[in-house]
Amino acid sequence: MAAEQTLRLPLGDEPESLDPTLVSSLRAVEIMRQLTHPLVYFDKDLNAVPGLAESWDTNTDGTEITFHLREANYSNGERIVAGDFVYSWRRLVDPRVAADYAYVMEDLAGASALLELDPEALPPDAEIDTLLEDVGVSAPDDSTFVVQLAQPASYFLSVATLWVTVPIQQAWIEQEGATEAENYVASGPFDLESWEHGASLALVRNPEWFGDPAKLERIEFTLMEDEQASLNAYLRDEIDMVGVPSADIARICSDPALKDQMLETATAGFEYYGFDLNDEAGFFAKSAHLRRAFSMAVDKQTLVDTVRQGAATVAGSAVPPGIPGHLLDVGLPFDPAQAQQELQMGLTDVGLSDPSELDITIGYNESDLHQQTVDFLTEQWRNNLGVEVDSEGLEAVAYSERRREDPFDINRASWTQDYPHANNFLGDVFGTGNNFMGYSNEEFDALMSEAAAEADPEAQIPLYEQAQELMVEDAPVIFLYWYGGYTLVKPHVHGLVPTTTDEDPGMMFFNTVSIGEH
């Protein structure tokens, strides 16, 4: 073991905040995972295990969960009490706070009354406060936190793992500059030592943490927004890990010194292109055959091998490997002959006789990767279907707005996990009202509700599988791949436990990492 137990990491972006209720960017979440701790955490295989809750019971119809808190303290030495969860959860659904992730509380009793308030015309404060009182959270005593759900939601334990559900001391968060290092109150394995805005952020071992003390004394994040610059810093031993830009993967794989430091990672999320189904008169809304034709005409494996340099896995559906409900062989295969047949049936559906009459535009947010992907897709459709598809790239934010308000015929999109549960990849993405495609299938929605009401995790799986098969056959989107990547890790970093929820590999368990002699 090295004398100095410090892990040095690049930070791709300045966190937008360190207020657990407000943050949503991947970078900020990575830091929240170190500074805070939820009721329920994960083991290395992402199974739910006790976090700040020592145990929990669910009533018979699955609408009430009682969490029994363990004895644990904040970094300021004060005890973490059930009332802090009550405050934190109410704050999350308070429309005056306007939290990005308020939606995860949809199933909480009384929350929808708040989430559905007209944002432009909020009722007076007193009325909101009354509604907050009615939210289904209570603290009968300091170590018991009771949650009432509006309807059964078997995945709700996964929601209780999120960074937005951690305990918050009201007296702390309401003070001026609460999220600055000198005031920060942490409930996780690390505490905030310093935060030089726009430069760096240092975490230090939290001695009050209830679990085994972190082996690392410190984690230093340095803001590095340029991936080439981060790679240079790694090469000069200024940081211990760095994500490899896709342009450098081939070069580093053939570098004798560096190739052994490459760690292949997988992230629970997928890249997809969604069809516009909002306008009933649109080609794709009219014909599932046409959608399947466009999907089956794409050789995804070649796309992954070339454009992504192998740093991804071909996806057939939404639930990624490692999440219960993942299906090995689901998905529309690459089959040009079959695609041609589907195309002919699709043309009949939309009342056309020749593929050249299809007037289709694919839209994407501009980046080298997306440009290359779209070029690949349009070439596949030209060769395998004989269809010329126009493409239009927009600047990222302008594209997000366009996709929301007036989508292209085919739209680039991605989904990354909020919580490791099939519902987050199915219901939250393909459920009616939850997607920009305008996809809606009552049978699919019914299966989602049925699975949510099913308390036994084993019994949920066939329901999620069935829903996936249904949705894949409907083909509202073209699934391309599940995300993967490569990270360079210095040989002196020991005990890294990568999971599919990581931003930096091993971030869920940085407290078990140690630094060897170097």
């Binding site: 803001l223 340029d226 600047e395 934010v397 929301r404």
Partner: protein, 305 residues
């Protein structure tokens, strides 16, 4: 002179007003808003945030609110960094950016002017070709290429200097050089052209025919006159440098404000965009005024009344 300065200072006010209005209108005309992300937020959250930040009000109302708070020195909220104000963000990074800018400016002047003079004095000689080569390379090399080259050579390969950061003199060197590259070339070219023009003037011939030594002619008669046009471009160069460089700050992870120019626009952080634009406008206006005043001292033909 005092009257002139006051008049010029008063003129800055309508100029700033016009710039702020144009920026405000253009910024809101660009599609997308601060809540449009890769992973879409639920529509209700977007609307709630718009209401919270007053983005659903009519644009004139929003503009007046912004202008009103500006008068009290309040640059408003940041839409991305939700628990910080634009004042916090600019306040934290401005000193670093100005320090980097001033160092790069000094380097550019110290190298650029002599380089241009040598080129002019050895017109069509080897030094001229060498200096011209350097300045063409400087003009043609974007700062990110220069920055990356410097890092690969001096940090990664030779390991002399850190690749990033802003902690002490050793970390100042590469960013300063990277930032100064283009202005060095610009100043050298202006100085050379201006010197060449001066060498053909009658008064230089007179000075030579009086039998003055070459050194005196260059130092007293040529330099002072040749530098007047150079002074004109030094103003905008200084204004550009002290308000920060997106690329150089990004590559070297420098905690300045330069990066907010581009990231503010990319993230539609309206408060930051306005603040950065106004800052740049004020810097240009004030530095140009200073340059104009300096003319009066450098060039005897110019007097303000």
């Amino acid at each position: 002179m005092t009257g002139y300065v006051i008049r010029r200072l008063l003129w800055i006010i309508p100029v700033l007003f016009a710039i702020s209005l144009i920026t405000f209108v253009l910024m809101h005309a660009v599609p997308g808003g601060p809540w449009d992300r890769e992973k879409p937020l639920p529509r209700s959250v977007v609307e709630r945030l718009n209401a919270e930040y007053g983005l659903s009000d009519p644009l004139p109302v929003q503009y007046l609110r912004w202008a009103g708070s500006l008068l009290t020195g309040d640059l408003g909220p940041s839409y991305r960094y939700r628990d910080r104000t634009v004042n916090d963000i600019v306040g934290d990074g401005l000193a670093t950016t100005v320090q980097l800018g001033v160092m790069a400016f000094a380097l550019a002047v110290i190298i650029g002017i002599p380089l241009g003079m040598i080129a002019a004095l050895r017109h069509n000689g080897l030094p001229d070709y060498a200096a011209t080569l350097i300045s063409i390379a400087g003009i043609g090399t974007p700062s990110f290429v220069l920055a990356m080259l410097l890092v690969v050579v001096f940090s990664v390969t030779l390991r002399w200097l850190p690749t990033h950061g802003w902690e002490g003199p050793s970390s100042y060197i590469l960013p300063t050089v990277a930032l100064a590259g283009y202005p060095i070339a610009q100043i050298a070219r202006y100085t050379r052209a201006s010197m060449l023009e001066v060498t053909r003037k009658d008064y230089i011939r007179t000075a030579h025919s009086k039998g003055l030594r070459e050194r005196t002619v260059v130092a007293v008669h040529m330099t002072r006159n040749a530098l007047i046009p150079v002074l004109t471009i030094l103003g905008p160069i200084l204004a550009y440098l002290v308000t920060g460089s997106f690329i150089v700050e990004l590559i070297f992870s420098i905690p300045g404000i330069g990066r907010y120019y581009v990231s503010g626009i990319g993230e539609r952080d309206y408060g930051l965009i306005m603040a950065m634009t106004m800052l740049y406008a004020v810097a240009i206006a004030v530095i140009n005024l200073v340059v104009d005043i300096l003319y009066a001292y450098v060039d005897p033909r110019i007097r303000y009344s």
